[in-house]
Assembly symmetry: C2
Homo-oligomer: 368 residues x 2
Amino acid sequence: MASSPITMMKMKLNNCSPPSTAAAAARFLPLLGPHQIRFRSSVAPLYNPSFPRTIITRPTFSSSSIITAAMANEALVKVIDGKKVAKDVRDEINAEITRMKDSIGVVPGLAVILVGDRKDSATYVRNKKKACETAGIKSYEVCLPENSTEEEVLKYISDFNDDPMVHGILVQLPLPSHMDEEKILHAVCIEKDVDGFHPLNIGQLAMRGREPLFIPCTPKGCIELLHRYNVEIKGKKAVVIGRSNIVGMPAALLLQREDATVSIVHSRTTNPEEITREADIIIAAVGKPNMVRGSWIKPGAVIIDVGINPVEDATNPRGYRLVGDVCYEEAIKVASAITPVPGGVGPMTIAMLLSNTLLSAKRINNFK
Amino acid sequence: MASSPITMMKMKLNNCSPPSTAAAAARFLPLLGPHQIRFRSSVAPLYNPSFPRTIITRPTFSSSSIITAAMANEALVKVIDGKKVAKDVRDEINAEITRMKDSIGVVPGLAVILVGDRKDSATYVRNKKKACETAGIKSYEVCLPENSTEEEVLKYISDFNDDPMVHGILVQLPLPSHMDEEKILHAVCIEKDVDGFHPLNIGQLAMRGREPLFIPCTPKGCIELLHRYNVEIKGKKAVVIGRSNIVGMPAALLLQREDATVSIVHSRTTNPEEITREADIIIAAVGKPNMVRGSWIKPGAVIIDVGINPVEDATNPRGYRLVGDVCYEEAIKVASAITPVPGGVGPMTIAMLLSNTLLSAKRINNFK
């Protein structure tokens, strides 16, 4: 069965469509697999970054030639392997912890406070605990029931603030609605605020000539990926999509500290596509599955995709799959480097939390 | 004497040239006055925003018709009158201070600490004192010699922190080089930091859902001008040129809080002209005389020029004149609104300092 480029585009787009459409498309995939795809160049657009450009000049293609050419094209794009980098970072942390333990007998400690019984929060905390253990960081965990009082949480924070064995304190968010999140987060002493969300830290991050004690983990992870893949930031045009306190805003501040020319795109931006298309570096942190399409991307741009969005997928045993804020299938044909989802920024967040905890333990103990 | 458009351009450009060139050009002005200028449309560019477009369609012009048309065109551009707005703001502050005094007997107090004998600093402090008196704010002034110790300054700050009559504390910068500026500024308690430079304030300014106690005076003045001239910010593209801690960076954060799509242009930006030309709103705060030329400006853009740069001017009795970061003569032919220098942002800074002091007195005394 032959299908027109339009059919193929539809299929491609379906991969980057909203959940329900994606699920519907997924049902068709076994019937209309890639081995059945053909397209005629006469209907193909002159320049369409979502197709390998080398193919467009040829009239018809067998399925295998398309696949081979697409693979060749995609091979030129660096897939930024967050899993690998996170492992390298964790190995380095582990070596540093051993060195510190051997020379001054100090083991970094991270305290995590979990209130209520949200399943996702419990999973995050469990993962953090596991990562701590692997890295050689001692973890202290407090699990409080949903109906705990603010005072109880504040008491634990106060105790951890005073505890010399604890170098980082993390309050898992979101807190139950009856608690004042700002008040609780502000109770964590700034020297142990390994999340880096304290406004004093954010202020230092924003100001030239100042140094924050900690950099928020996810944006720190994004920049670390750029560094490890030797992506030049200085003088480059960077667009951050999303302006959340935990990712978008601090990511923009970090890029600016590295001398990028930064624009911030958000829900009120009238022409996000046009602005994004000018960027050499894109950090997408908006939480909208596949929002950034191939047409939004300047050829050769580097893309860090922070989004981790579940979309329905009947072909997946779990009934869903995870996608980023960027339509990976389209982006990989235009970008010069991109983080996959999962396996991109995700693993970096926990690695940076460990990094911040080590940093804190070193600073508190004046260990170089 | 007739002169070609090129000569006219040269003359125009000379007004926006570096100091020495401007001074040299100024010497020629009496010989080559505007009444002698002609240009032929055949050599005039098809679209040149630095000329009134209505004129370009006509073949030749007498000097008077050029001047009339230019004046008509410039009349369409709103000159944002900072002097007038600052006066309005100060009148409003004055009325509020009277109301507060009458109802709870509290008079706002501003303490200014001046160290050393820099002439410019002394002038600033004198102006602030005068503005306070006019507005009905009590000012407390401490002048310390250049060779004072850090401890002496810190002692004064500590006393003012504890003094219930003082609602705002301002340390005049720059401090002598033997003092740790950061340490001294951090000693001012956050509730009296009317300058708004404390990183905790900056952090709150950067974070969504948080409110800074004070907004730094100059950027606050820029936004106030936009508000009072009913310039829509939400959804607009804004470019801030310069990223200083005291103007550029907080101005960008403020514009973002008002839902503009903000880009920050700085010394490492490779194509500042191109990026600036996309802006609906430009805030220039870079300290470079006439850096932003007519060609940098999108027709209809609104320009807030924060720069106050002295340039040599032999025709001026003082030997210099003040110019902004934007070439006013060129900009006024392209922009829809612009602040002049002087008389634009300048008068707003002190007005905002008074506004912050009043705000502080109200907050400390819980007066609505």
